[in-house]
Assembly symmetry: C2
Homo-oligomer: 197 residues x 2
Amino acid sequence: MSQARKPNPARRSERSRRAVLDAARALVSEVGYAKVSIEAIASRAGVGKQTIYRWWPSKGAVIFDSFLELSRGEDGVRLPDTGDLEADLKTVMRATVAEFADPVFEAPVRALNLEIVADPALADAYREKLAGPVDEAKKERLRSAQRAGQLAADADLDLVLEVLYAPLHQRWLHRSGPLTPEYADALVEITLRAFAP
Amino acid sequence: MSQARKPNPARRSERSRRAVLDAARALVSEVGYAKVSIEAIASRAGVGKQTIYRWWPSKGAVIFDSFLELSRGEDGVRLPDTGDLEADLKTVMRATVAEFADPVFEAPVRALNLEIVADPALADAYREKLAGPVDEAKKERLRSAQRAGQLAADADLDLVLEVLYAPLHQRWLHRSGPLTPEYADALVEITLRAFAP
């Protein structure tokens, strides 16, 4: 995992690291995953190729890190836990829906999605490096809700996440309906009803 | 709609019509929507270009008809209605899951999906010509269930269909989990619980 190769905390390194991640995401959006090269990322970010290789082992690692960055807060991927599952999920889903409705965010994610759908090996890497850690953070919040008796103790958490996120994902991917805060709330309410204790 | 240009019922015409639709679907799978031409479809199907133009107004129309054919039974798109919503949906969803698990079926659908995700105009045409009529047939079955008191009378039927189908669609698209009869049943049970009267 690239986490083991994080840059040192000096401010200049952090600026370079962010420039590299922004460049990687922008290039995937513009030319597609297959055509992005380490050279192009370095050139766009204004850093040397060696700077990239010092922090990331491969092109795949830097691109996945650039997308992981989108889902990551100050202290990593973590969902809010105020003790109120419905309120917390609505906070998260409203933010997620807003991101998918934002052209700046959605263009690179759409480009990456196309690559993943067409390429099973990339889909595996995506699951391992990106979707996996994010899903694990979500499940951690759901387990807390199960302990609090707010979610069926025997609920299949993979299925809970699918019911919560897949409708949004499909609506966004096929542009088949509006992406609104009300839609975010409806998905949370439906999911909690489906998996009520 | 291409339905208005159906071939005459003579057996030879029906054979040609099927050959054209099979060729269209195969070519989308092999070379992608953008590169399929009427010429290539005609050549693959062993008919003249004029035969195709007699029945369909455009390349888009013949390709969408070729996919609509996959969802269409003897008497058009219609869901079973035995009076038992859960049993009927499980019949339909088990068949749908089996189709998505079948490489012969899933390859052209995956190819078309990629085109739709990348091309908003094609997504609109897809919704109007293909997803729209199929969804309407599904909603007809759900309305019957609402009248029978088996589904909440105020349920948003677009949302019901999303909760029922989007998890399967995402799992198939990202190859993120097994596509089994048990999964089909679980989606039906979850959806009925979420939208219970």
